[in-house]
């Protein structure tokens, strides 16, 4: 393992000159510190309490390196465009680098600032430095340091006060080649009273293994609203780490929806720091088959009074899949009148599937209302029986109930075009392939 770590180190010396922002001392300092810390820690292992159910040893068996796409002609343009969502600004990243040719953001209003991280570091480095690593400063694990050292590009979005993205922004991360490292670092700054809807999707044009690491830092101003939907739909060999770190000001509202359907080993992290009287809603659905390992990790800090958090994650695990949920709510001593609820429900469909869950409440204030609930089980026999008495055969009844279980999460998506996309993907990934689409209509 250490040998691989060293190799990352050696490769870094050769490659880092191509990474963006080489002329910026503050960024070089960040990268240097992160690289040193990564060489100490390595990638997380199941010996770390926060990573105890997931095994990322595959990441250390190979060396994944950034591989720029020489020319867009090499890429199947129609395949990429097929991932576009109608009535959205579609932003395309190929192997962790922004693609101007494929992206379609021409209609973006002028008062909204959106560009690639590479360009932002060239043209507005001070503004980037104001936010870079500010939402992740207390994080200390291998993946975050690895991302800081190795990121090749990303996106930067800035919405001034009182503005609104009139169409949702769709960020498509495409991996085109085997053994590629797609490392992006992304920042969204949403000003006071502003509003943005974002969707990020992760897809593969290759069937081989590769590594995605994406870190999103999102700063939500007073009274602003952000909804962020994530669809991880990578190939069955892909390794995926993505962390979304959010800082919410007073009365800011944040909704995150995570759908993990693809990948071999996938870790999805959502961490938010709530401001006074702010609200967050974290929802997720993970659908595992074969030997997939899908890990969801969330952390909500209630630091100030009157904030509300709601969280629901659901898992459907078939064949030899393993689903993991770790949710942590920390109510600090000044966070009186906190209202927090967390739920995790798991459906085990096979003898070999496994669900591990670890909901945690850490509470230091007394005037709070906090609850969490977990269930793990199989489909309710009486419900199946009921459907059978209505002349629906057992298999169809089971499919129906499983679909209903999952669809509850899809229904929570407010943007029609996103909901449609996720639903389509859900149906193709569904354990029971003969699922009839008529039910949905």
């Amino acid at each position: 393992m250490a040998a691989q770590r060293n190799q990352y180190f050696t490769e870094y010396q050769e490659l880092h000159e191509e990474f963006p922002g080489q002329n910026l001392p503050w960024l070089n300092q960040h990268r240097k510190v992160a690289l040193a810390r990564f060489s100490e820690l390595g990638f997380p292992s199941s010996r770390d309490e926060e990573w105890r159910y997931i095994n990322f040893s595959q990441v250390e068996k190979k060396v994944f390196l950034p591989k720029p796409v020489e020319s867009t002609d090499q890429v199947d343009r129609t395949a990429v465009v097929s991932y576009f969502v109608d009535d959205c600004f579609n932003l395309v990243f190929l192997n962790g680098r922004f693609s101007t040719q494929l992206s379609d953001i021409s209609e973006l209003p002028e008062n909204i600032f959106l560009c690639s991280m590479k360009k932002a570091l060239q043209q507005f480095p001070e503004q980037v430095s104001e936010y870079f690593a500010k939402a992740t400063e207390n994080e200390d694990h291998g993946f975050i340091h690895f991302n800081t050292a190795w990121f090749t590009d990303g996106w930067v979005l800035k919405l001034p006060e009182n503005t609104q993205l009139d169409k949702p922004l769709h960020i498509i991360h495409v991996a085109t080649d085997s053994d590629v490292l797609a490392a992006t670092r992304n920042i969204a700054v949403v000003g006071e009273n502003a509003r943005a809807d974002l969707l990020e999707s992760y897809v593969s044009l290759t069937t081989d293994a590769y590594l995605t690491t994406a870190v999103n830092e999102i700063f939500i101003g007073k009274n602003a609203q952000v909804s962020f939907c994530k669809l991880q739909n990578e190939n069955g060999k892909a390794l995926h780490y993505s962390g979304t770190y959010v800082k919410q000001e007073k009365q800011a509202h944040f909704i995150h929806e995570s759908f993990s359907f693809g990948g071999q080993t996938s870790r999805n992290e959502v961490h938010t720091d709530l401001g006074q009287a702010s609200e967050c809603e974290l929802n997720g659905l993970y659908l595992g088959r074969k030997k997939q390992v899908l890990d969801n990790h969330t952390r909500i800090h209630h630091r100030l009074p009157d904030a509300i958090s709601r969280e629901t994650y659901k898992g459907i695990l078939d064949q030899r899949a393993r689903g993991i949920f770790q949710g942590r709510v920390i109510v600090h001593k000044d966070a009186q009148k906190t209202d927090s609820e967390m739920n995790n429900r798991n459906l085990l469909l096979s003898e070999d599937a496994e669900a591990d869950t670890k909901p945690q409440l850490e509470i230091y204030a007394d005037d709070v209302k906090c609850a969490h609930g977990v269930t793990v089980g199989q489909l309710d026999e009486t419900s199946i029986f009921y459907l059978q008495t209505r002349c629906i055969d057992k298999q169809a009844a089971e499919n129906m109930l499983t679909f209903a279980f999952a669809n509850e999460m899809v229904d929570k998506i407010k943007q029609n075009q996103f909901r449609k996309l996720v639903l389509e993907q859900l149906l193709t990934h569904f354990p029971q392939m003969e699922m009839r689409k008529e039910w949905v209509l």
Partner: protein, 482 residues
């Protein structure tokens, strides 16, 4: 001392009335731990050879281990070489044959604690084994129990009289390699209780062990082993207290329960070790490993605990549900006040088919205390139709305390049904106001509400214990309101 100072002193004393020291001549080892100490201990106890071997094996393993740090508790590192590993009241040549020969000072101590060792004085039929510092000083009702075929005696006696039973079962549930404190205990345990209930016997009375730490600078390491043979039934109670001292004392016990086919064990604890004073000085470190093995089909183990004492409590009474249809239960009330810290909960490991477990945990945190529930529910692939229900409620009294819930749920069997619920809240102003309106003082009102909150657990306790537990909660909460 002036009168007012005296009054204050009394008030403080009231908080922990078991905090006195008994002046006794004791026989203690010099502080320190190495093979020589273990050999000496084993020799004093006149133990069979296998025991010494076991202890040495454990000691060697312990030497290679590090103090675990994952728990949600903070304490200064313990210097294991500064602890004396054996302390016992000095006794006459052969040891007491009957109660008449027991040092009257000792009898007085237990009387003060409300544990009369005199058989006539016992109101209900409860057999008591009294463990003072490192040794058992008296066991009551031995004769009556023997008639029923029940063995209830100090561990040291069991090692001499029933070595084959001890050898067969000791360490079979908690091996000496299990964890840091279990390894330490296996190396240096000095006494404890041994219970064997033969096939088909329903133990005619409740069995009880009363642990008392008295000497300073010693650790208490007792080992309890309860074996319920096929179709038997036993209810066992455990109580503990210690003097008030400024230094922290270590208590690292191991309890092993074995339930064979159709057997049932009910194990109740009221833990009231000295919790330290209001500023967090002193108190017992209670680092205990308790585990039950439901080895036979249809066996049942039920843990009930009321934890009000100790500066730090770190324990997880667990059930390994190996037999088909076996049942594990865990009912717990953990109350922390002032600077107390508790990291407690349970582990339910489902292995057999149709196994079921219930976890009811009530945590109350007051003052500047930290109270953590940590529990594991693990359903292995073989545990078809396993069932678990977990409920963890926390109550916060005051705005400087913490209440935490860390459940771990690992399920490998689709037919398993697992439910977990947790809530955290504070005593509502309305409830308090209502009680006060009816003429209750704020303190009584809090005590009453807390007792109501814990009712589900208290009803599992044997009668006398339930009364004691309720009174204890009231005392432990004193000074936490306002």
């Amino acid at each position: 001392m002036s009168t007012s100072a005296q009054q204050i002193e009394n008030l403080i004393g009231k908080n922990y009335k078991q905090g006195f020291v008994t002046d006794l001549e004791t026989e203690s080892f010099a502080p320190g731990l190495d093979e020589v100490v273990v050999r000496k201990l084993s020799a004093i106890k006149k133990e069979p050879a296998f025991m010494l071997e076991y202890r040495l094996k454990a000691l060697r393993h312990w030497m290679t281990m590090k103090t675990p740090e994952w728990a949600f508790v903070k304490f200064k590192p313990i210097d294991y070489q500064a602890i004396s590993y054996y302390s016992a009241p000095k006794k006459k040549e052969d040891g007491p044959k009957s109660l008449d020969e027991v040092d009257p000072e000792l009898l007085d101590t237990y009387k003060k604690l409300g544990i009369p060792l005199d058989e006539q004085e016992r109101l209900a039929g409860v057999a008591v084994d009294a463990v003072f510092d490192s040794v058992s000083v008296a066991t009551t009702f031995k004769g009556k129990l023997k008639e029923a075929g029940v063995i209830f005696c100090p561990m040291s006696e069991a090692l001499q009289e029933y070595p084959e039973l001890v050898e067969q079962y000791l360490g079979s549930v908690v091996p000496h390699t299990d964890n840091f404190f279990a390894a330490l205990n296996a190396a240096v345990f000095s006494d404890g209780s041994f219970v064997y209930i033969p096939e088909g016997v329903r133990c005619p009375m409740e069995l009880s062990t009363y642990f008392r730490i008295n000497a300073a600078n010693t650790g208490q390491f007792e080992r309890t082993l309860i074996i319920a043979d096929e179709g038997s039934h036993v209810s066992y109670l455990e109580g503990c207290t210690a003097p008030m001292r400024d230094e922290n004392q270590l208590h690292a016990a191991v309890v092993e329960l074995i339930a064979l086919e159709n057997a049932e064990i009910k194990y109740s604890t009221v833990q009231n070790w000295y919790p330290g004073d209001k500023t967090g000085k002193g108190g017992i470190y209670n680092f205990v490993t308790k585990r039950a093995d439901c080895r036979g089909d249809n066996s049942k183990v039920s843990w009930t605990q009321v934890e009000t004492g100790s500066a730090i409590t770190w324990k997880y009474p667990s059930c390994i549900l190996r037999g088909n249809n076996s049942i594990g239960e865990f009912y717990s009330v953990a109350l922390t006040n002032n600077y107390q810290q508790a990291d407690t909960g349970t582990k339910m490991i489902h292995i057999g088919e149709n196994t079921s477990s219930t976890i009811i945990s009530k945590g109350i945190s007051a003052g500047k205390a930290q109270n953590t529930y940590r529990g594991l529910v693990k359903v292995l692939k073989s545990a078809k139709n396993a069932r678990n229900y977990t409920q963890c409620d926390s109550l916060l009294v005051g705005d400087r305390c913490g209440a935490h819930t860390f459940p771990y749920i690992e399920i490998k069997q689709p037919s398993a049904q697992v439910e977990h619920e947790a809530t955290t809240s504070k005593i509502s102003e309305d409830q308090l106001f209502f009680c006060q309106q009816r003429g209750l003082s704020p303190e009584d009102a809090v005590s009453m509400i807390v007792n109501g909150f814990c009712k589900e657990v208290f009803k599992e306790l044997p009668m006398e214990f339930a009364v004691e537990a309720q009174a204890l909660l009231g005392i432990s909460l004193e000074g936490s309101v306002g």
